[in-house]
Amino acid sequence: MIVPRHYKEMPQRYRLQGNRCKACGKVFLPPRLVCPCGSEDLEDYSLSWKGKILSYTIIRTPPTQFKYQKPYAVAIVELEGGGTVQCQVTDTSLEEVEIGKEVEIVFRKIFSEGEAGIHCYGYKCRVV
């Protein structure tokens, strides 16, 4: 069911393609049509693939489509040069996940969807 929705989001998910307000400098992923500062003058901006963990959790009771991955960590990552994302922490033991840790964004399969098992890809991060 999610496939046409997902297709639309690929530039954001595959290349961290967002945008940046030319008036106030705020960075957005996904890209926005208008900034909370009121400006509609935004430029394309690819977010950095490096950042650090602002907060995180370990998910132990996931929704159905993530049931085979549990337990897994999800983090809020502040990226260098602006912008934040929320994503899973991969290639990292759960004990290593901490607030303040430096991470890099990596490209991964996120889950498989529906009866046909369509793979949905996107970004995760790993502690470096």
């Binding site: 602002l54 929704p63 949905c120 996107g122």
Partner: protein, 382 residues
């Protein structure tokens, strides 16, 4: 705008109500409210419900509920703002009566969550589906992130969070409609099955079925129905950034702060003027953040404030006398209306064992998602 009073309340048992479906739950609560008020007709109806679409494949609740309530041709609206659906429905019912367009308005809230649908998936529709849920985060996960950040920034402890749950269950044990009317110990909270670190099972409100309803009318008209006039003296609503990671400070619920600020302004009151409050404790950390944003304690001090007993039934400002979402249950669309029901019970002095002494002014704060929307009402007994 006219002054508005709440003249009737109705609520179902909250819990795993396998034998009652969506329409039956709603109609039970609505009929109770109609009888409690003693009105012989309705002019309009607001139905708060979050996601009957994902739980029951049923939308169009205005039509469905007016029909099954036997109210042929009644104008009826379904209002959605995730877990704040009930509170916002109440606000719109209040506006309609205040405007002069209608005299007798029923506001009901309902959620049927135990349907076999994946509740974790359905509830994630309150978050940013594409940039939070897509990555496998869940509702407990979002509040767990708030908790981690709050613990880091302010030194809030797991024990303080546990104290919130213990207090809520103390109150809930005195509420016959509660889903889990049982006392729990701090150790039970700390040792419970982990759900999303640092939150365990007893930090989380349950998945619940239930409904609640209230009847509103102008204060002038209310005198015809009752001697105990309970007036809506403040109302405020606000939204904020939907995705947690895009907020400037994830430990501060600014939609709650804004909604509270507006409600206090309308009422001409300060937090210290409030005798008791129902706040949106979908998780223990949520109650801590909400009492901070509502000004019942200093920002960052919700943990120690709670642990010291200030929010207990006999404390400085009793919070969630009903048991809160934690012990009473959290059928999401019903919750905001159920908070108003508890306020009215307290203000009428009919809250039984959980009655707050000298309860003259109560506040209800309902919240959607991880704080993307909130609505606050202040009620006063005249």
């Amino acid at each position: 705008m006219r002054d508005v009073a709440v003249i009737g309340i109705g609520i179902t048992k909250f819990g795993e109500l396998w034998w009652q479906n969506l329409r039956e739950l709603y109609v039970e609560a609505a009929l109770k409210a109609i009888k409690d008020a003693g009105v012989d007709h309705l002019d309009s109806m607001y139905v708060g419900c979050m996601t009957s679409g994902l739980f029951c494949a049923q939308e169009h609740l205005g039509s469905l509920m007016a029909d099954y309530l036997g109210q042929k041709h009644l104008p009826a609206y379904r209002i959605e703002s995730a877990c704040a659906s009930g509170g916002l429905a109440f606000r719109l019912g209040y506006i309609e009566v205040a405007s002069g367009m209608s005299d007798i308005v029923l506001v009901g809230g309902v959620e049927k969550m135990l349907t076999g649908a994946d509740a974790t998936f359905a509830l994630a529709s309150a978050a940013d589906q594409e940039y939070e849920a897509f990555h496998g985060n869940t509702f407990p996960g979002l509040y767990a992130m708030i908790a981690k950040a709050h613990m880091t920034k302010y030194g809030t402890t797991r024990e303080q969070m546990a104290a919130v749950a213990v207090k809520s269950h103390d109150n809930g044990s005195k509420n016959p409609n509660a889903q889990f009317p049982l006392k729990i110990s701090k150790e039970m909270v700390l040792n419970a099955t982990p759900v999303a670190d640092p939150l365990g099972l007893f930090d989380c409100s349950p998945v619940s079925d239930g409904a609640a309803a209230v009847i509103l009318c102008p204060v002038e008209l209310a005198k015809k129905y009752t001697d105990t006039i309970i007036k809506v003296i403040g109302s405020g609503a606000a939204t904020s950034t939907i995705a947690l990671h895009q907020r400037d400070d994830i430990t501060f619920l600014d939609a709650v702060y804004q909604a509270g600020k507006r409600a206090y302004e309308v009422a001409g009151l300060k937090p210290e003027d409030i005798d008791f409050a129902e706040v949106h404790d979908c998780f223990t950390i949520a109650e801590i953040c909400c009492i901070e944003a509502l000004g019942f304690c200093e920002v960052g001090q919700g943990g120690p404030f709670s642990e010291a007993g200030n929010t207990a039934l006999d404390g400085k400002v009793p919070i969630n006398t009903s048991g809160g979402l934690k012990s009473k249950g959290h059928p999401v669309g019903a919750t905001g209306v159920a908070q108003i029901v508890e306020l009215v019970e307290q203000l009428r002095g009919s809250a039984g064992e959980r009655q707050v002494k000298n309860a003259k002014r109560g506040l209800a704060q309902n919240m959607g998602g991880s704080g993307g929307s909130s609505v606050v009402h202040i009620l006063e007994v005249q």
